[in-house]
């Protein structure tokens, strides 16, 4: 049984067919790169997986159970996390609030009034950032005041705090300096070592070839090719992307 099975997913926006029957699977602990030109349907597909969009047709199964049509919170609880290209952070909230956004633990005062358990949030956010080796000047700073790389660390920490089985990364290296890119690639390898699957969406084929096990190419909402990284090369993938082969 595959960890994630995508079967015949279609999605239209008005007259635009963003996804036209996409199928592929991801195994536990596997790094699958999804590549394709702008508008090929990569981001739409990911938003269908995470429940942000509902597909018009098709089915998605995760650990053998259908998850199609579930809302984003329910899909996160099942163990799928996504790191969005724009990071999806709340800029005026502090770092722990962002890491626990939507999943705040609650304790009761006098056994009656539920309050967000800030002490736990602060402690676990701190611990997760330490484990990632992220350097933040002040975890109580508004996230919007942090640098791009620091914000990326917050988004990554958020995705990893709840023991995900699958992490989707949308262009995680696009806005980073060289040294930070290496850091993200190491992180992906570390996830694979812990048997956590990764779907990596990237324009940077060097990154894709550096860390992925398989490469799925999308063009105009269709899967054009699906190859093992070890058995293909950059030229072939480029040809798939632009439609020359």
């Amino acid at each position: 049984m595959s960890l994630l099975e995508i079967r015949d997913i279609s999605k239209r926006f008005g007259s635009i067919e963003a996804l036209a029957g996409v199928s592929f699977a991801v195994q536990a602990g596997e790094v699958v790169a999804v590549v394709g030109d702008n508008g090929a349907g990569k981001s739409t597909l990911m938003k269908v997986i995470t429940g942000v969009y509902q597909p018009d047709a098709g089915e998605i199964r995760f650990r053998g159970e259908p998850i199609t049509g579930l809302e984003p919170g329910a899909i996160r609880r099942r163990g799928i996390e996504m790191i969005y290209q724009d990071l999806a952070l709340a800029p005026q909230q502090d770092v722990p609030s962002n890491i626990f956004l939507g999943r705040e633990p609650v304790r009761r005062i006098l056994g009656l009034f539920p309050v967000v358990d800030r002490r736990t949030i602060d402690r676990e956010a701190h611990a997760m950032l330490q484990r990632l080796g992220a350097r933040l000047p002040d975890i109580y700073a508004e996230v919007g005041t942090l640098s791009g790389g620091q914000q990326q660390s917050v988004a990554i920490a958020r995705a990893l705090t709840f023991d995900p089985k699958l992490v989707i990364m949308d262009e995680p290296t696009a806005a980073l300096a060289v040294r930070e890119v290496e850091h993200v690639l190491d992180l992906i390898r570390e996830l694979r070592r812990q048997n956590i699957a990764v779907i990596l969406i990237s324009h940077r084929l060097t990154d894709v070839f550096a860390v992925s096990d398989r490469i799925v190419t999308l063009r105009q909402g269709r899967v054009i090719s699906e190859e093992r990284t070890a058995e293909t090369d950059m030229q072939r993938i480029v040809a798939h992307i632009v439609g020359a082969a």
């Binding site: 984003p72 609030s97 956004l101 309050v115 109580y140």
Partner: protein, 322 residues
Amino acid sequence: MAVTAVARRPLSTRLGFRLESLGVLLLLGVVMAWLSPYFLSVSNFLNILLATATIGVLGIGASFVIGAAGLDLSLGSVLGLAGVVGASLVVKLELPWFVGLLGCLGAGAAAGFVNGLLVTRARLPAFIVTLGMLGIARGLALVIADGKTIYGLDPTLVYIGQGRPFGIPFPVIVFVGVALFTHYLLAYTRFGRHTLAIGDNETAARAMGIHVERHKLALYTLSGLTAGIAGLLFMARVNAGDPTAGLTYELTAITAAIIGGTNLFGGRASILGTFIGALIMGVLQNGLNLLAVQSFYQQMAIGAVLIFAVWLDQTARRRREA
């Protein structure tokens, strides 16, 4: 790698509001005390709180909605509608006082609920929806009251507006109670954290599994409910259902929220801040009254304070971000 201890939360985020507005309030108090010998007295403080109660409660509703990057321009009109509904139930239909009380709250919440439905289901801009409701609620209040003020409430209701248990005006008790509860709601519960997250980045909130539409519906209903409470206080204080009550109050309420540190574009709000913001305006008005300054100048002063408060806040932000 060295494992460092978790730093302590700064005081302002533990309390859920920033300390600048408190500084402005204290400064204003010192100036007023220096200018007028009548300012520093318990009875004058209670007067200020009493004069601030109605606007303060409205400002709380405004803070929740604006904190989520919404807007409620219908607060003042809904206040008027709520008072007329409550007074009609008690005076015209001769129902018991608590039906009138529930009528005020229910009318407010219902108007807010309609606002929320239109914003979330019909996907109309909050500005348009609540501007429309500003007209509809006011018109409906005039229709129900037949354009006339409804006099002669039950004494129990009048007590809510004019009573003084232990010497403290009843509306002040309501105001402080509502402020404490809503402060807890906004600063300490998941509901409050999600409110600000929606105002900060709605797409992110949705992607993180927050039910944005359901949440907004609750927020507009809550805002309407505060207008209902304010309507009850107003009605009880003047012992009548006045269909023109609360005219332009929404602007004062929004001003109180903004002076208290609410970000007009969402993502940041605090009820203690709004409480202080409302008090700043109350102190200003009271002080200028004591100094016998014409009310036209008072309006100018409040406008100037609003601009000054936002300028202060923006400067502080720019310094932090630099």
